[in-house]
Amino acid sequence: MSSIAQKKGFGATIWDFMTTVDHKKIAILYLISGGFFFLVGGIEAMMIRIQLAKAGNDFLSAGLYNEIITMHGTTMIFLASMPILLAFMNAIMPLQIGARDVAFPFLNSLGFWLFFFGGIFLNLSWFMGGAPDAGWTNYASLALASEGHGIDFYTLGLTISGFGTLIAGINFLVTIINMRAPGMTYMRMPLFTWTTFVASALILLAFPPLTVGLFFMVFDRLFGASFFAVEMGGNTIIWEHLFWIFGHPEVYILILPAFGIFSEIFAIFSRKRLFGYTALVFATILIGFYGFMVWAHHMFTVGLGPTANAVFALATMIIAVPTGIKIFNWLLTIWGGSISFTTPMIYAVAFIPSFVAGGVTGVMQAIAPLDYQLHDSYFIVAHFHYVIVGGVVLAILAGTHLYWPKMFGTMLSEKLGKWTFWFFFIGFHLTFFIQHFLGLMGMPRRVYTFGADQGWDLFNAISSAGAIFMAIGVIILLVNVVMTTIKNERVGNDPWGDGRTLEWAIPSPPPFYNFAQTPLVRGLDSFWIEKMEGNKKGMIFAEPLGDIHMPNNSFIPFVMSLGMFVASFGALYFLDGDKPWALAVLVIGLLITFGSMLVRSLKDDLGFHITKAELLKDAKGGNTDGH
């Protein structure tokens, strides 16, 4: 497609990505960095399973084990799953609604760089005196007692990357509200766009409490405040509330886009309109709404009292209803469809029983008296891996295969894709199914070892064996990516042949302005409608061909995020006593950030126009890269 891009040197390509405001390139940045952190988190997981493979193992020390489980959880949630989902949202959602761009291309880039620098900062802890070790939930009673700077890497790193995520959420919301093509009413939006919308709303309202909690923790540990210090009148439960007011919506921020991806897959590969589209939309909204009213089910054993526990238990059980509605709609979409078992479709079909198992254990835990038994045991570990791996990660793998051609213009090998699936799927159940029983047998979560006389050897060994299967699956996927990229066989607009929504009506990858002419949408599954009516162009247009306005690239988002990164080191070492330069570093970092903000607001940035003549040249197969 982009002949210029291929001729560009390596340095120029890097510069292009560092300054890009194109949502499709930002998507690639998210995918690469999220994928990288996914591998890091995966290696940490393997180390956990090696340590637990046999009784009394000494592969990891107790302290290092704590650091590794903390970083595994934190990395997987904040730096791997969420960014990879943001990659798909960026790559696909604007195309699905027929938009040329997102609402705030500059902020989109800023959001990515904040996430990126936050993630790097957090992981630098490994090389700078030790990683955080209070669990991904970072409960204050543990965190305040933790020595060294590990926890500070956690709080500051997540603050920075959290700002990035918040910005991304606002950007997607405004894009969906304002930038839909003519005719794209809310009730014609593809399900992936809908779930992006609701997940973004959850980001908007759930991240501020986390940020506030993180700030409290920063002030307590670094500036002498005492929000959580009991001897000074503080209260550690405040952290738990703030964390879970964020934390439970967070799991829906992850799972709703996953639902969206699977909804697309079921419709495409059953060659049928989604069954119960309206019900699916309202179930999504309802889940988002209830998601904010159940957080204390993570705190049943804190002692909030029977009334609070009863209320939150009921609210939690209610949330299973809209989730069940979705499951039945998907089943009825497959029912009677003309099914093709492509790699994404296999993932989608396997997702249903896996996720239902996680939902069932969730409802069990929602029964507060029972949760007194299950809490902090391996049963919980089994539950959330069934929903997160069986739901979110399967969706990420499915989405990678489904959208790879749209993002990169090549098709991942179906054969290797299926190998990945089988290794990963079998490994997943092997690892986590048996953990339910380990939990029921009394094995607590977050222990670094166990005794030979406790009777947990065999099940732990089986669990560790499963992890190896998953690792093999991921390695095959990497091989697949490399081979596909080397072969570089370009594909057309609709490589799966059965695309239903607008993104499949334009080239793979699309030109940087997406649509030379804005499409006119005539119904749900608009590309499918045009196909059925024999429209060779795949869409009808809402406007004649004319000049297009596009935003300029900018280096400012990178610099602004870098400033925050620098300032964080200053804050981190502020109270250390032997590091007088810390204050200077803090000030310099903030100056960089606010200085670049000022430059941004004082310098007019009006973008540029692509002329009609250039568009016509493009259509004949010229350069579509723009710069």
Binding site: A103, F104, L166, I170, N171, L173, V174, I177, N178, M179, L204, L205, F207, P208, P209, T211, V212, G213, F215, F216, F219, D220, F223, G224, A225, S226, F227, A229, E231, M232, G233, G234, N235, I238, L242, I245, L598, S601, L602, D604, L606
Partner: protein, 208 residues
Amino acid sequence: MDINQRYTPQSWPEHPETATMEGKNKFIGFWLLLAAETVTFASLFATYLALKDKGPSGMEFSAAGLFELPLVFAMTMILLTSSLTSVYAMYHMKNHNFKAMQAWLGITVLLGATFLGLEIYEFNHYVHLGFGYTNSAFSSAFYTLVGTHGAHVLFGLSWFIALMLRNAKRGLNMYNAPKFYLASLYWHFIDVVWVFIFTVVYLMGVIG
């Protein structure tokens, strides 16, 4: 959008802040940001209420003993007035009267700066009484809530000043009208938060 296009009060649109696509996007995006800010302040208020009057055993400070209403009441009136003057500024913005808008914004900035000065004086006073940031959970929660609001005031002031200086020579156009509008929206938000601080922290604090 042509930044050099000249407008007269007659050709100036009725809602310049949402007359362009960029303006519309900013308008909605900013309201969403305010939603996030609301949740932020809600978390801060909840924490303050949980930690009010809590400290190490034998702490001598309490909200009822510490806060005095006269100064805070004056601060409240000043900030409320500044909200009103920013409304006048926006009225003139919509009528394409650049000079009058700048003048009212100038008054707004002066009032805001006075408020901030009084807040610094107030904090300084408490610190001299021994009620420093690290004194207790109560003091941490108090300074963080009220200080976060103060930081917002500072940011709002800087935003106004930057906009006024940047556009002093070139007047109003479709590119900067949404910016002025959003800055004043932000100012109102800060004002509303202060009303809650006045009620929850000071009024309810003095009553005990």
